[in-house]
């Protein structure tokens, strides 16, 4: 099928009245979630997974995807007006966005964030559309050794990108893999680590776990240290106030282009996603600028680049999931959960077996981006008011959603206890500097990693050479190995250099 036929098929799915409504519900909810500090897109998607049971699979995916990219749009509003990032991917927008707002250019900052997000989101989707089909075809040749190498590389990347401590991230990845082994052995169906608890026979369910880690833990953060969101910048009034002037457009346009490209490339990497891409895009823009001293003092490029990057990364984050069946980040892990709830395994065969779903989902994102632009520009004043919702109301809403969501998975109260346990764990893990992303990704990838490792070893009759004699797995494992070894070598070299300097200065 050619590109145009594929697009036509996709739009015939995404433009049905029902799917348009689901798309709108997703992007609206995503924007609200992005605006509200304390409730992230991962938690919201986790909360809504049980609700999607009875929905048609494509509609469910369209709505859940809408929540994700919608939250990226919404996150910029609080960053610019309150200097409180609604999403971690909007942290960099706080710096120059808030400075612009303080100088009376809140409208231009919000406007360029919305336009930049729209342009980057659309460019990212074009990239996704062009890259996904050939990659899916290439992945058809993957066997167990390639899948093992791919999961190993994914976990290594997750542990090294976006975390301050590699040992802590790797420990969390190991814990995630271990939690993934609870329940029946995927090959022999023997019970492992169930300790006689019947509810653990089928393993720990992803939904209560993620609700606890991302939803209930936020409740604990809110009650332990109440979040006081104070409006410090005036929201712009009227549509015209959102339009950047000619000079601002001239400054922002190249930053949008570069941010889109950087976001797209970084977004494909497992674990990187919107947050890292916005950091990288901001750093690149500052380095390339003729006036780097303007950054931090209200440079519009400092808003355009990270906002474009995080939206472009949202689109490219779908590539590993749709083509290889591997989630690149926590939200994609939840999307994988959504696919599986409906009995669909995303991966290389998805495009051939369910082209309507594949292209329907992709084209819905084009539609959703247009909706977001139309929604965000006139309603920014309303969203700015939502940011002032006090924690006293927010906490019961999140708790109720977590309870219903966790219970609704299996109608089992045990899942509520699992959710509470993971909530407490997530709260303390974050307070002590442990990142939760490696844990969740490892938990999701664990069964695939174990099965492919055991199958590979059976195929090779116990020889580990199967992983290095096959070119794709050899390259993937070499990259993972380099990622693991490089920081150690660097640290040793730094220590040696410090040792050489110390005696000289001492004498």
């Amino acid at each position: 099928m050619g590109v145009w036929e594929s697009l036509a098929l996709g739009f015939s799915v995404s433009l049905t009245p029902a799917n348009l409504a689901y798309c709108f519900a997703g992007v609206l909810l995503g924007t609200l979630v992005g605006v509200l500090p304390g409730l992230g897109s991962a938690a919201t998607i986790a909360l809504l997974l049980p609700v999607t049971y009875k929905m048609p699979p494509t509609s469910a995916l369209i709505m859940l995807a809408g929540i994700w990219y919608g939250s990226m749009y919404g996150g910029s509003t609080t960053s610019i007006l309150l200097r409180v990032p609604g999403e971690s991917a909007s942290v960099m927008t706080c710096i120059d966005g808030f400075e612009m707002a303080r100088r009376g250019r809140a409208g231009a900052a919000l406007g360029i964030a919305a336009f930049g997000s729209f342009i980057a989101g659309t460019l990212g989707l074009v990239g996704l559309m062009l890259l996904a089909p050939p990659l899916a075809e290439f992945a058809l040749d993957f066997g167990p050794p390639e899948y093992f190498a791919l999961t190993a590389l994914g976990l290594t990347l997750v542990s090294f990108l976006g975390t301050s401590s590699a040992p802590k991230a790797l420990a969390m990845a190991a814990l995630g893999l271990l939690l993934g082994t609870v329940g029946l052995d995927p090959v022999r169906s023997e019970a492992r680590f169930t300790f006689g608890v019947l509810s653990l026979q089928s393993g720990i369910d992803l939904i209560p776990m993620v609700m606890g880690l991302f939803g209930f833990s936020q409740v604990l953060h809110l009650v332990a240290r109440p979040l006081v969101a104070e409006a410090v910048a005036q929201a712009p009034r009227g549509f015209l106030a959102l339009l950047p002037n000619r000079q601002e457009w001239r400054d922002a346009a190249p930053a949008i282009g570069r941010g889109s490209l950087v976001g797209f490339l970084v977004g494909i990497l497992p674990g990187a996603g919107g947050t890292i891409s916005s950091f990288v895009a901001y750093a690149i823009e500052k380095r390339l600028s003729r006036h780097p001293e303007r950054f931090g003092r209200g440079a519009i490029e400092g808003v355009a680049a990270p906002e474009s990057a995080n939206n472009s990364a949202t689109a490219s984050g779908f590539i590993p999931l749709l083509t290889l069946g591997l989630p690149a980040n926590v939200v994609m892990a939840l999307m994988l959960g959504a696919f599986m709830l409906h009995g669909i395994t995303p991966g290389p065969t998805l495009l051939a077996q369910k082209p309507d779903m594949f292209w329907g989902l992709i084209t819905s994102m084009f539609v959703g981006n247009v909706m977001l632009l139309v929604l965000n520009l006139p309603l920014i004043g309303v969203f700015a008011k939502v940011t002032r919702m006090p924690a006293a109301y927010l906490v019961p809403v999140i708790v109720l959603a977590c309870l219903v969501g966790a219970y609704g998975v299996n109608n089992n109260p045990f899942d509520i206890l699992v959710m509470v346990g993971f909530g407490v764990f997530g709260y303390y893990a974050e307070r002590t500097g442990f990142s939760l992303a490696p844990l969740v990704l490892a938990f999701v990838l664990g069964p695939l990693m174990e099965t492919s490792l055991r199958q590979s070893l059976i195929l090779s009759q116990g020889g580990f050479d199967i992983f290095v004699t096959r070119p794709i797995s050899a390259v993937l494992l070499a990259v993972a190995f380099l990622m693991l070894v490089t920081p150690l070598v660097r640290r040793l070299a730094r220590r040696q250099a410090a040792g050489r300097i110390a005696p000289k200065t001492g004498s």
């Binding site: 420990a171 271990l178 492992r192 409740v219 309870l403 509470v420 709260y427 307070r431 990693m449 059976i458």
Partner: protein, 141 residues
């Protein structure tokens, strides 16, 4: 606090190695049920040990009374999990929401009671209509 968390993970890893050692390990030629968990548990011990050796970051101090509120919410939500089946969704949810709105959020009594009851009944009605069987418990509904 960070050191304690790392030490706890090391202990968890050691316990997992022990628990995994009771499963059949097999061999590289024919890996059994305990093969993967043993390797992973050993990795957990190794990486959390390395994290323990790092210089710890001190977490920001909690607001006065924050720790108490945290455990009240945790305990109440866990109790909800235990009581939802025998007492029913409506009673448990209304009680928990009342605690959160009045006890934690310090909203006025009337507003808290109305919001807790209203949200519980609305949620029950919505989700049972969507086909999710929520326990009725002691109430004849």
């Amino acid at each position: 606090m960070t050191r304690a968390a790392c030490a706890l993970l090391v202990l968890l890893g050691v316990a997992a190695v022990y628990a995994a050692s009771r499963l059949a390990f097999g061999s590289a030629r024919a890996p059994e049920t305990g093969f993967f968990p043993t390797l992973i548990a050993l990795a957990l011990v190794l990486f959390s040990g390395l994290a323990l050796a790092e210089r710890p970051e001190n977490p920001a101090p909690l607001e006065r009374g924050g720790g108490g509120r945290l455990w009240v919410v945790t305990g109440a939500t866990a109790a909800y999990g235990v009581l939802i089946q025998p007492a029913g969704f409506l009673i448990c949810t209304a009680a928990l929401l009342l605690l959160l709105l009045r006890g934690i959020g310090r909203l006025p009594w009337t507003a808290s009671v109305v919001a807790a009851l209203g949200a519980s009944i609305a949620t029950y009605g919505l989700f049972t209509r969507l086909g999710m069987p929520l326990p009725a418990g002691v109430l004849p509904i």
